[in-house]
């Protein structure tokens, strides 16, 4: 009698256990989902509250609508620019100009910075000779170079590209330099034993291991490139978002300044997204745990 009962009891036990487990996993997943929704809702609520208060205070004349504008006016301005173009041409063209200057400046600055960083990182003699000069150059607030570039290169894109390049160069250079210096000595020794020439060590060991250093600087430096382009345009240009800002300011169009800022933020976020995407592709070899 009892041998018949035993297996049944066991079956019952094994039946309930996985059921229990999936139940618990279920409720945990549900809790996580609920938390996500709560975070999103709070975010939206915060945005609505800030914009709403701004609008209400502005309309109720608690804050000066002329100086501080209001979200509805900013929206109208963005809408007008999108639909009817700006005073100096279609909005897309302005965005494209700024983006083009920033991108070109960024790419040039990154290339020069990486090359210098790796070369100086590998050749100690050069690093020792140039070290103090680089420190001096780095200590200058480089944005003051923008007026000089304006004189040298005129109102066209070249002066903006130049200011973007000098802003981008230094962070990229320092990171590439550091990255080249901090290469795991074991990896270099291993590569040499395996038969790598000096050139191969640089190309196939130093540069790959410096890439994570370089990439950290790329995120920051794209922001710098945008700053360089905008400030350059603000000082004097024929096209671009910086010009939009300076013209809005010149006509006391506060909404215009804000609207240009909104557009810039969207552009910067888009570029950041592209960069993150590229980074994921390149760093497939990295453990995901250390990804930030």
């Amino acid at each position: 009698m009892s041998p018949d009962v035993m297996p049944e009891a066991q079956v019952a036990l094994t039946m309930t256990e996985p059921g229990n487990k999936t139940d618990r996993a279920h409720s945990r997943a549900r809790a996580a989902r609920r938390r996500k929704i709560a975070v999103m809702a709070a975010r939206v609520l915060l945005l609505v509250a800030v914009l709403g208060l701004w609008e209400v205070f502005s309309r109720a004349k608690v804050i000066d609508a002329f100086n501080f504008s209001m979200p509805s006016k900013i929206w109208d301005q963005v809408y007008a620019w999108v639909m009817h173009g700006t005073a100096q041409g279609p909005l897309g063209e302005q965005i494209w100009y700024t983006l083009y200057e920033a991108l070109l400046g960024w790419v040039l600055g990154v290339i020069v910075g990486v090359v210098f960083g790796i070369v100086l990182g590998r050749i100690t003699f050069l690093a020792d000779v140039l070290g103090p000069y680089i420190k001096v150059l780095n200590s200058i607030p480089r944005i003051v170079l923008a007026p000089i570039f304006m004189i040298w290169f005129g109102l066209g894109p070249a002066s903006k590209v130049a200011s973007a390049v000098v802003l981008v160069f230094f962070p990229v250079f320092f990171n590439a330099f550091q990255g080249a210096r901090e290469v795991d000595r074991n990896l270099v020794a291993n590569a040499r034993i395996l038969g790598a020439s000096n050139r191969r060590v640089t190309l196939q060991v130093v540069i790959p291991s410096a890439t994570s250093w370089i990439f950290t600087s790329l995120h920051v430096s794209f922001g710098f490139a945008l700053i360089g382009a905008i400030v350059g345009e603000y000082l004097g240009a024929t096209k671009g978002i910086g010009l939009l800002i300076s013209q809005s300011q010149g006509t006391f169009n506060t909404a215009g300044v804000y609207a240009a800022m909104v557009i810039l933020a969207v552009v910067a976020l888009g570029a950041e997204g592209l960069l993150t995407f590229a980074e994921r592709r390149i760093f497939r070899w990295k453990p995901t745990g250390s990804d930030s």
Binding site: L187, I193, L194, G195, P208, W285
Partner: protein, 271 residues
């Protein structure tokens, strides 16, 4: 003496003196005299930090001796030669390369065409039992598997001289025994001369034909013991044989003294 009959490695009065960051001089090894024959498996044991690893870097050509001579196959060592393979204590696999690409690195660095390098690399990966892992990145492997990749990457270059710097010290005990057996198997077919640095006396006796005992730092050769245990050996079983224990006791008498000196010095430094 012609190049063919000359021993694989000869150290003649080799010393290495490093300049410390504070400007002082540190003698890592002094007046090393050691001859290693072709196809011989030599283990070097000594107290921690005595300069065992420096011996390897001298033979590899990564460092030059401050005094004396280092000869490989009868020729003085000048820079890193193509006869040498080196397995490091730490992980030295390239983390951005896949397993296959890691093993291909050596032949590719030496100018072997890609398809041929791939073929050789696959062959060695199969031999270390990682054929199914060729597309993985090193961080996706266990420590033992990464060591296997390092072994394959070293053996694929067909080194005449294999230098190993405490290669298995970071592995857990079971993996270590397994890897030691695998190393003996891999080595058996190659005819390479091996210098295996370790601080583990058991490991050294189980693996080697000769055990070299170094003195406390600055290190020099204290004594050389011949290990007459028959091959092929299995690391786990050979250490239970009476002859093994006899040898162990004999070498420990010599090594233990140096370990004691090192320990007393350490205590003196602390006090």
């Amino acid at each position: 003496m012609s190049a063919d009959t000359s021993p694989a490695i000869q150290l003649r009065g080799a010393s290495k003196i490093f300049r410390t960051p504070s400007g002082g001089l540190h003698t890592a090894v002094r007046e090393l005299d050691l001859t290693i024959g072709r196809g011989e498996f030599v283990a070097v044991v000594g107290p921690t930090g005595c300069g065992k690893s420096t011996t390897l870097t001298l033979v590899s050509g990564l460092e030059e001796p401050s005094e004396g001579e280092v000869l490989v196959a009868g020729e003085p060592v000048r820079g890193v030669g193509d006869k040498v393979g080196f397995v490091f204590q730490q992980d030295a696999t390239f983390p951005w390369r896949t397993v296959l690409s890691n093993v291909m690195a050596g032949p590719r660095f030496r100018g072997v065409p890609k398809s041929e390098a791939k073929e050789k690399a696959r062959e060695w990966l199969a031999r270390v039992g990682l054929a199914a892992f060729e597309d993985r990145y090193p961080h996706q492997l266990s420590g033992g598997q990464r060591k296997r990749v390092a072994l394959a990457a070293t053996f694929v270059n067909d080194p005449e001289i294999l230098l190993m710097d405490e290669p298995f010290s970071a592995l857990d005990v079971q993996t270590r025994a397994l890897m030691s057996d695998e190393l003996l198997e891999l080595w058996a077919g190659t005819g390479a001369s091996v210098v295996f640095v370790t601080h583990d006396l058991e490991e050294s006796i189980a693996l080697a034909d000769k055990v070299v005992v170094m003195t406390a730092g600055p290190a020099t050769v204290k004594q050389v013991f011949d290990i007459d245990l028959p091959r092929p050996r299995k690391v786990e079983s050979v250490r239970l044989e009476p002859r093994f224990i006899e040898i162990y006791r004999e070498i420990w008498e010599s090594l233990g003294e140096e370990v004691r000196i090192t320990r007393e010095r350490g205590a003196a430094n602390v006090a």
